[in-house]
Amino acid sequence: MATQTQIPVEVPVEDQRAPVIEPGHSFSTIGEKVSNIVLKRPVSLGWIFGFLVMFSVMNMLLMAMGYLFLKGTGIWGITIPIGWGFAIINFVWWIGIGHAGTLISAILALLRQSWRNSINRFAEAMTLFAVACAGIFPLIHTGRPWLAYWMFPYPNSMNVWPQFRSPLIWDVFAVSTYGTISLVFWFVGLIPDLATLRDRAENPVIRGIFGILAMGWRGSARHWHRYETAYLLLAGLATPLVLSVHTVVSFDFAVSIVPGWHTTIFPPYFVAGAIYSGFAMVLCLAIPIRAVYGMEDFITMRHLENSGKVMLATGLIVAYGYFIEAFMGWYSGNTFDSFLLWNRLHGPYAAWYWSLLTSNIFIPQLLWLKKFRTSTFWLWVISLIVLVGMWLERFIIIVVSLHRDFLNSAWGMYYPTKWDWMTYIGTIGLFLTLMWLFVRVLPMVSIAELRTLLPEAHVREEEEVHK
């Protein structure tokens, strides 16, 4: 008769890697642990203090923007020839940070990487908040942000339309699509968890709020079937999207003729750089959050180590990009390209370029060593350094390329003003304020997806049941 062979549904982790979820958890304990942060955990003094600090930093942004609307972009350090200063540097930096969230939620979902399940939720939230911060900059850089809707094609009494041959218009479409799809993806992922929170909430008002947001989700098998199809399709659509967004951002530069911008290496190297800085931000946030909220069971050393490996790999692609830029500067024999290389290494911004090489290429090589990849302290420090390095990269690309181009008589220098710094630091405040609220009002880890990782979530094949 049929043999009673037990086919293991989950291949056990045989090597020395940490598990993706610590042993001893059941369907119920996962839901309890994650939802208690939202429903039960009292608001601590530390949280309030941190929130007030972040909120004040955010208000600095509002002040800087208010003064900007009053006075115009003249309060910034931008001049001719450097017309794209902090606004575009910070825009590219923030958009890049967002990329890791979509990479984790979409690309790793398609690749069936089970370690993504516990970090995708807050990585996607990070994407949304980073895109929100990024979106501010081109808007206020237009000078008259109240007319920003002119960038969208709509029939108007002026009888003009946007110029669709311009990369800047492509950017409008790419970034707004990216923001919208990230929001949709994030919300679709949240629906089953909102239902869990609705069912666990004791306070009727809170239950009502989560009830409305969960839209009557009841976990029907038919619903799950369509849900999984929709989620897979969203992942499939978001994957080319995330690769396209930073490609389009790089077109803003690559389509022009400025030395240092006009290169074909830009799209892949921008995408790799985006994922590089995004994973750095994921680590920067995940390490303190898992410690404060006791999430070590779900965000294990495996997640941190894997993120470190992704950083190392994308960092090497970025290093290759720098190398090719330098190589082409020498190999092309073009006066302006060779001068750009010389100017980066020895010009007035040489110290910035060397800091960039140190923080983006040299220091992250420590991640080759397991000792650094498995130390939360070192991972956190390296991530911070990479975030600074990626900001410097955009500074070098924008400012150093623009400040000395073809004509010596048109050379200049760029000095950011205090308003530039207030706007930039203010968006960090906005980002952290939103993050601060997010971890307290929504489940920061996907409950439903974590549950599917438990061995008891898997069922045997039909044939075996009816042996």
């Binding site: 399709l233 659509l237 999207l241 396209s244 979530a457 069922v459």
Partner: protein, 182 residues
């Protein structure tokens, strides 16, 4: 007459299980016994559960395909209309219908329409948002988003019979069988 009104006030019968395996097995048996109007509920997606209740194919992918194509076409036609017909601008003598520059916006709108339709289509086909559903009348159902698994036979099923269906469900060794008031 009175019999019919009693049956109308009942949505169906609900059996409660402790594990995904028990639910899938029970769903197979119930569907095999000839019940067609059944549904299963779980806190997370279970592979094979939809098949077990006889739900094999959904139309989400078709919706996304159609909307994606509409998005792509409208993106391209919009640009063609703007750049060639409504507002032709001569840029360095290039052709007005400079299609390579139109690829990006076409692509983005394909993704935008497809992605939104995936979420909205999934919700619409699921009949969500739905402010009221009878299964929530069973107190134990609040565990359907936690660690319990439910199977419901609807009273509209042709084979449904209050007594015999209850006996059948009890034969599946559930933790409990309860009536779902509508």
């Amino acid at each position: 007459m009175s019999d019919a009104s009693v049956e109308n006030s009942v949505y169906g019968l609900m059996a409660e299980f402790d594990s995904p395996q028990e639910l899938v097995d029970a769903a197979h048996k119930t569907h095999g016994a000839g019940y067609k109007e059944i549904d299963a509920f779980s806190p997370f997606p279970i592979e094979g559960l939809a098949d077990a209740i006889g739900f094999h194919k959904n139309n989400v992918a078709l919706v996304v395909l159609i909307c994606g194509i509409i998005g792509g076409l409208s993106g391209y036609l919009l640009q063609y209309y703007v750049a060639v017909l409504s507002y032709p601008v001569n840029v360095g003598g290039r052709p007005l219908h400079s299609w390579p520059s139109f690829i990006i916006v076409t692509f983005e709108l394909t993704i935008l329409f497809g992605g939104i339709s995936a979420a909205v289509g999934m919700l619409a086909l699921n009949g969500l948002p739905l402010p009221y559903h009878p299964v929530f009348n069973v107190p134990a159902f609040s565990k359907a988003s936690d660690n319990k698994f439910f199977l419901v036979v609807s009273s509209t099923d042709p084979k449904y019979d209050a007594t015999r269906t209850r006996e059948f469900l009890k034969g599946l060794a559930p933790r409990a069988v309860s009536e779902v008031p509508s």
